[in-house]
């Protein structure tokens, strides 16, 4: 009985990824590319994805921008507000490498240094198809229990 229950909840995690996005000093390019994911052309609702206004309701955190020093603590705070299990997707080149801002004294330059990132979406900005694919992949990771926060919770 409990195994059926676990299976049902795992399946639901794949079928219902709710997304919260945070701009950590991005030029807004990546954020603009997120909007068409939920428009008629790409329609993320088909895979159950919805943009949520509150991190408390979200499963997946979309983070864009090179993590400026001012946003660092806020990013950490928002990440902690998301109830586990949760996944993190870094959008574009900025949270991966700092992009054109690399070496600037006002940025952290890597999302990895602040929170555990599960998936990187390449591009500057990435295409909406790629973002939707990342959301789907993150949802599958949540189903299998293979996101980094879930693994850390298991090992602890």
């Amino acid at each position: 009985m409990s195994s059926i229950f676990t299976k049902l909840i795992n399946l639901s995690r794949r079928r219902s990824p709710w997304v919260y996005r945070i701009n950590a000093g991005s030029c807004n390019g990546c954020d603009i590319e997120v909007a068409p994911c939920f428009s008629p052309r790409y329609d993320g609702e088909q895979i159950g994805a919805i943009l949520q206004g509150s991190p408390k309701h979200a499963d997946i955190l979309l983070i864009s921008g090179p993590i400026t020093l001012r946003t660092r603590d806020i990013v950490k705070d928002v990440y902690q507000q998301i109830p586990s299990p949760k996944a993190v997707i870094a959008l574009g080149s900025c949270p991966a490498s700092g992009n054109v801002f690399a070496g600037s004294p006002t940025i952290v330059g890597s999302a990895e240094a602040v929170i555990p990132v599960d998936l990187y979406v390449p591009g500057c900005p990435p295409r909406p198809q790629a973002i939707l694919e990342a959301i789907q992949m993150a949802a599958k990771l949540l189903e299998k229990g293979e996101t980094r926060s879930q693994k850390e919770a298991q090992n602890a």
């Binding site: 639901s12 079928r15 219902s16 428009s39 329609d43 159950g48 206004g53 408390k56 309701h57 499963d59």
Partner: protein, 303 residues
Amino acid sequence: MLNWWLRAILSIVIWPGLLAGAVSGWFLLWMSRKFIAQLQGRQGPPLYQPFFDFWKLVGKKTIIPKGVNRFMFFALPVISLVSVVLALALLPVPGGSAISFEGDLVVLIYLLEMPVLMDILAGYVTRSVYAQVGATREALLSLAYNLPFLSALIALALRLKTFQLSNFSAAPISIATVVVAAALFLALLAQLKVNPFSIPNAEQEIVAGTYIEYNGLPLALFELTHALELSTLVGLIACLFMGPFASIWLKLIIFLLVAAVVIVMVNVVAAGTARLKVQHAFRFYWTWGVAASVLVFAAALLL
């Protein structure tokens, strides 16, 4: 006596209570989302979407905000779920509910008011500014939409000279029934918090309204309450139209047909309008709501 208890429990748990209410509520929620998606040129969510949303929320960890009373945080969604399940069990659906007595209409009205009160309390208990704004708006709006809602039910009760719901569903269809259904529909838009009355939960504007700090299991219970509320309110309108039909299957078909029509109408309005400000919504209900109430009383007592 034992037999009655058994049937009463069946009414609460299976038909028309929790199980049937949840399934139909989820189906109606899916229908709303799909229909709006289609109007916007999108594919929309798959059939099981509200079901998966619920179970995913159940499986999530619950975070209780600092300074919030743990007992209150869990008690509010439970109370609102229990009261809406009991309200649903009173509904005179095809096949009838085992729980039916003179005055059950009054109980139904009280029970339907509980989720609203719990929402308002939830807004204040969670100590979020946005939630408090949402709670204030919901309290104001409930003073507005209850006017046509209560008038319609009281007028019908006066016409039929009974406060028993099973007599409502047995009454013949007349012009008065249609007017009553129209007044209930007017209130339904605000009760379901859809556009143009999506004022308390105004997404993007006040983040997520009264539920902003809720997450995990308590949020899942609130979502389930919403689904059940949808079934109850739509079911209440649908019940008015199955009086003249004798066979239970025909009654069921009419019941479901009216429910589907009501949902489609709600969503046409929701997709075609933008959110009003709370003072405009209030004025709307205290002008057109009053007009509807007068019309309902006139139709019920004179025709």
